[in-house]
Subunit: 332 residues, 2 copies
Amino acid sequence: MATIYQVADLAGVSLATVSRVMNGNVKVSDKSRAKVQSAMKELGYQPNIIAQSLASNRTNRVGVLVSELSGPFFSYMLAVVESALREEGKHAIITAGHSDVAKEQEGIEFLFGCRCDALILHIDAVSDEYLLKLKERKVPFSLINHRIDDIADCCFTVDNEQGGYLAAKAVIDMGHTKIAYISGPEFKEDARMRLEGHKRALEEAGLTFNEALHYRGNYNEDGGKAGFDELSEQRFSALICANDEMATGAMYSARKHGLDLPHDLSIVGYDDQVFARYTYPTLTTIKNPIAEMGSMAAKWVLKEVYNINTAEIIHNTFEPKLIIRNSIEENI
Amino acid sequence: MATIYQVADLAGVSLATVSRVMNGNVKVSDKSRAKVQSAMKELGYQPNIIAQSLASNRTNRVGVLVSELSGPFFSYMLAVVESALREEGKHAIITAGHSDVAKEQEGIEFLFGCRCDALILHIDAVSDEYLLKLKERKVPFSLINHRIDDIADCCFTVDNEQGGYLAAKAVIDMGHTKIAYISGPEFKEDARMRLEGHKRALEEAGLTFNEALHYRGNYNEDGGKAGFDELSEQRFSALICANDEMATGAMYSARKHGLDLPHDLSIVGYDDQVFARYTYPTLTTIKNPIAEMGSMAAKWVLKEVYNINTAEIIHNTFEPKLIIRNSIEENI
DNA sequence: AACATGAATGAAAGCGCTTTCATTGTTTGT
DNA sequence: ACAAACAATGAAAGCGCTTTCATTCATGTT
């Protein structure tokens, strides 16, 4: 592996000059530049990025922490983030936090240990105080799906309240008035917001939120099953679930109870997971623009940390979208 | 950020000694060790891994290339690989090859550029010659889902032929004799092997493979749709698809054609994607042990490159498994 | 008591770059 | 024609570690 010395030798210049042409910043005469470039080519020179990092105190690493690496949800975001970073020669170091305080902190420390220039964090569990304290450690980071008012400019969130609203509104617009709801775990911010939005839609339509038609689920399929089982003692013509997994669980239970879907019961999910297109009936759901958020977070890092400006304007809030499929029907 | 000098100062020893206690290899007296450790704690010292890398010519980075970051399929494998590596303090640098020769090579070069100690590659497109040439570049790598005889010990593959066999056998055992097949793209090794296995099962049962009952798909949902549409001119009671996406596509088309599933047609997929549990009827499919393969590849790297031995024995071939759900029925 | 042995330690070189600062050579202004 | 200003360049220090090699010191041997 050729080093900068050999390039300098071959080109007949000092290594300072070679370094300069690599970094393209300071003025170098065209003549020297040409000599250096041809020497580089001849030697097949590739700079040692480790040495560059050490000397420049820049690692070109960006740490990315998501709840889970597996699952279509985050992996899609990762894909977007990784390719945006790679395009600019930055390396993504990726790890998972598993929605657990200790593991998230451990993950963040791991990324710190990697000497990342910046972090992109999708956290679930860690406290705001912890994150605010992180700010003092001089490694810039951005937050996906979580907003802290004091540092709002680095937070990229989707309006989950609006998503909850849209889901409810979809069935309200179809004439449903008895609407059940299976919510996500309360410790998750998005779950709380979706429920808020749900209530707002009901209120706006002059309906009252009935706690008897509300089941607190766990975001898993079995939560949906259990939820429907418990709710089935009540009467309702539409069921909103705070995510798609629970919606499929509810579908399963509903069919067990002898319901004909979607005729007897309209169901709405949330997230627009890949499988939402494969359920039967296909699932009406809310799509969060995760890819856009990931892309924006990456751009923020690029701009803020590396001074690489994209034309695009940074914005921090994203709007969810209703995806209508076959799991809801007019209430007659 | 404290450096090794400050630790040495505070402990009253030389930096060589500090380095020694960090790396735990050479003998250090208990007294010095204690002094150094308490100095480290007092300063909150964290070694600069960049400097370590430069000095030791070890980056503790492992490059991982998969076809796609998004999608449940690879992300699951990534999750396993990442956590296995992280457990030993290694950093996974992850990137995607998008099943394209140029992009895969670019991805591999990118990982080389990161100065990875080793690579774990899930490639689709790149040629064997290219990979054999890589071997000469002194960065060890392992191959997932692709076998090259000359370097078989670093290849981790699943027996796709056996998987194809199992899929066909599942419906044969249920009395089906008219069996259609939608295959994957021929340039993909796994697609070819699955078809091989399919043929073997037919042969073993005394059935002949009928090219008229074979459609070459593209591994996507629409390929399944198109496949069924074309095949529907023939008579058959069972349809095997080379992956789950095509199976759902075929289901969709079959229902469009007025078939009652699974009564009129038994369908088998491949991969056991998450959504296979959500289709209607739920999909019988073949599960490849991707997680196990990923884990094994990580262990191989750990052992081969870092001399970290796990108790587990390295093996290179993995067996697929039939997952029976509701999309197949006895042929009457 | 004189010596060989071996364990613990430190001095210093080196990993491959970036960057500062001084130096050289070249223009420009008068 | 000469000083002043400036552009291009090189020498060398430094980034924070690892590792080699020489040195010191305690121990055991005869």
